[in-house]
C-alpha cells in the first residue's frame, strides 16, 4: 500500500500541494484527477523522489521514500512527456535501461504488442509523437513491477493503440497489479479505474469510487460528475 501523509509542496510563492492525505489500495486502479496545474504530476514526482516535498511523508509498503531509492525497484513509471535523448536508437535506449536496472524484462513481448519492431533501428528524434509514447510505454512497463504509475498514458496514441493499451492494462489488473493513473480522457478513466481521487487547490477534494462520485454529485454521467465537482467549487 502507498500512503501519502500531509504532503505539501511550494514552488517559490506558488502553493501547489497544501496537504495531500491519500491511501492507494493494493491491487486496485486509482485515478488521480484534477484541473490543469493542480499538481498531479508533482505528486507523482514526489512519490518517485524526483521532487522533494516541503512537508509530509510517503510510505511505500512499510518504508518511507525519503533518502531511499530501493523502493523504486518495484515501481514502473511512465512519464507524462516522453523526452528522450534524440541521438540514440530505440533498441539502444531499451538495452540501456535494461542494463541499468538488471531486472527481469518482457521487452520483446511489448515491442511485438505495440508493433515497434520496424522502428528498433530508428533514432528517437525521428519518431512521431505516438511512436515515442509507445517506446515510453515499453520502457516503463517492461519490468513487470507490481506497482505501475502512468502519467497521461493516452497522449498521442491513435484509437487502435489506445484500445491495445486498455486491453493491456486490464490484463495487468487481472494479474493483481496496483495502478495509479492520471488522465484527461474521462472515458478512459471511467473504463479503467476502480477509485477516483480528485485534487483541487492542493488538497484531495474527493476520494471514492465512481459510483460514489455519481451519487454525491447527483449526475449519471461520469464526465458531468467531474465537471460538477469543478463547477461547484468555483461557484
Amino acid at each position: 500500500m502507498v500512503e501519502f501523509k500531509d504532503i505539501q509542496k511550494k514552488f517559490g510563492k506558488n502553493d501547489v500541494l497544501t496537504g495531500i492525505n491519500l491511501k492507494i489500495q493494493d491491487g486496485k486502479t486509482t485515478a488521480i484527477l484534477g484541473p490543469n496545474g493542480s499538481g498531479k504530476t508533482t505528486l507523482i514526482k514526489i512519490l518517485l523522489g524526483m521532487c522533494h516535498s516541503n512537508k509530509g511523508d510517503i510510505l511505500v509498503g512499510n518504508s518511507t521514500t525519503k533518502n531511499n531509492w530501493s523502493y523504486r525497484k518495484n515501481i514502473d513509471y511512465l512519464p507524462q512527456i516522453a523526452n528522450f535523448p534524440g541521438n540514440i536508437k530505440v533498441k539502444e535506449i531499451i538495452a540501456m535501461i535494461k542494463d541499468l536496472r538488471h531486472q527481469k524484462t518482457r521487452d520483446e513481448e511489448l515491442i511485438t504488442y505495440f508493433e515497434l519492431k520496424p522502428y528498433l533501428d530508428t533514432k528517437l528524434s525521428h519518431l512521431s509523437g505516438g511512436y515515442k509514447q509507445k517506446v515510453n510505454l515499453v520502457l516503463s512497463l517492461m519490468f513487470d513491477s507490481p506497482f505501475v504509475i502512468l502519467d497521461e498514458p493516452t497522449s498521442g496514441l491513435d484509437p487502435l493503440s489506445l484500445i491495445k493499451l486498455k486491453d493491456l492494462l486490464k490484463k495487468e489488473q487481472d494479474n493483481g497489479k496496483t495502478i495509479l493513473i492520471t488522465s484527461h480522457i474521462m472515458s478512459f478513466v471511467e473504463e479503467i479505474s476502480d477509485h477516483i481521487s480528485f485534487i483541487l487547490d492542493g488538497k484531495v477534494y474527493f476520494d471514492g469510487s465512481i459510483d460514489e462520485l455519481k451519487s454525491t454529485t447527483q449526475e449519471t454521467d461520469f464526465e458531468y460528475a467531474i465537471a460538477n465537482l469543478l463547477k461547484n467549487d468555483h461557484a
Partner: protein, 260 residues
C-alpha cells in the same frame, strides 16, 4: 555509478567535439615538437595553451553536456538508482573523456618524438597532471553552474564568466591590487590569493618543476620563497585537489536537493 559513467563516457567519446579537441592537441604538439626540435620549449608553450584552453573547454563542455543530457537524466531519476550515482557518473564521464583527449593528444606526439628516452619526462608528466586536474576542476564548476541554472542561456553566460574571471580578470585585478598597495608587505596576501585561483596554481606548479625563475612572476617567486620547490609543489597539488573536491561536494549537495 560505473554504468552511468560508462554510458556518459562512450557517449562523449563518440561525439565529434571530443575528436576535434583531441586532434587540436595532436596537431599543436606535433607542430611544436617536430618544427621546434626542443622538448622543454614545447612543454612551456603547451603550458600556456593548456592552462587557458583546458578550463575553457572544461566549463563549456560540462555545461553543454549537462543541458544536453537533461532528458536522459530525468529518465534515470525515475529508475532505482541513487541520485548521487547518476550525477557522479555523468561528471566523471565528462571529466575523464576530456582528460583522455588531452592525454592522448599530447602524449602520442611526445612518445613518438622520444619522450621516454629524454630527461624531461617528469616535466611532461606534471603538464599532464595539471591538464587532468584542470579538466576535473572546471567540469565540476560547470556542473555546479548548470545545476543551479535551469535557463541555458544564463548557464552558458555564467560558465564563460567564470572562465574569463579565473583565466584573465583575476590576474589583472591582482596586479592592480599589488601596484595600489605596493608600500605594504604583500607576501601573505599574494600567497593566499594564488590559492584561490586554480589556473594560477597550475602555472606555478609547472614552472616550479621546470625551475625557470624568469617565468615564475611575482606570485610564483613568492610561492617558491615561502615553500621551496618541493613543498611548493606539494602544497599546490594539495590545493588543486581541494579545488576538485569542494565543487564536487557542492554539486552532489545541490543535486540531492533539486526538484526535477
Amino acid at each position: 555509478m560505473l554504468k552511468i559513467l560508462k554510458y556518459s563516457f562512450f557517449d562523449l567519446i563518440r561525439s565529434r567535439w571530443s575528436y576535434v579537441y583531441f586532434l587540436f592537441y595532436l596537431l599543436l604538439s606535433s607542430v611544436l615538437l617536430f618544427l621546434n626540435n626542443d622538448l622543454s620549449n614545447a612543454i612551456i608553450t603547451l603550458l600556456n595553451v593548456v592552462i587557458v584552453l583546458v578550463p575553457l573547454i572544461g566549463t563549456i563542455f560540462g555545461v553543454m553536456y549537462y543541458y544536453d543530457s537533461q532528458e536522459f537524466t530525468e529518465l534515470l531519476l525515475a529508475q532505482p538508482i541513487k541520485r548521487k550515482s547518476i550525477f557522479l557518473g555523468q561528471y566523471l564521464g565528462v571529466a575523464t573523456s576530456l582528460s583522455l583527449s588531452v592525454l592522448l593528444g599530447l602524449g602520442i606526439p611526445f612518445a613518438l618524438y622520444g619522450l621516454f628516452q629524454s630527461n624531461v619526462i617528469f616535466d611532461f608528466l606534471i603538464l599532464i597532471v595539471v591538464a587532468v586536474f584542470l579538466s576535473f576542476i572546471f567540469s565540476a564548476l560547470a556542473f555546479n553552474i548548470a545545476l543551479t541554472n535551469t535557463n541555458k542561456i544564463k548557464g552558458f553566460g555564467y560558465a564563460i564568466l567564470v572562465w574569463l574571471f579565473l583565466a584573465v580578470i583575476y590576474d589583472g585585478a591582482f596586479l592592480i591590487a599589488l601596484i595600489y598597495f605596493q608600500e605594504y608587505p604583500l607576501d601573505q596576501f599574494t600567497l593566499v590569493a594564488t590559492l584561490f585561483n586554480p589556473i594560477d596554481l597550475s602555472r606555478i606548479l609547472i614552472l616550479l618543476k621546470l625551475d625557470i625563475s624568469a617565468l615564475l612572476g611575482y606570485t610564483g617567486a613568492i610561492f617558491k620563497d615561502f615553500f621551496g620547490t618541493i613543498a611548493g609543489s606539494l602544497v599546490s597539488l594539495g590545493v588543486l585537489a581541494v579545488w576538485v573536491v569542494l565543487p564536487l561536494w557542492r554539486m552532489l549537495h545541490v543535486a540531492k536537493k533539486k526538484d526535477f
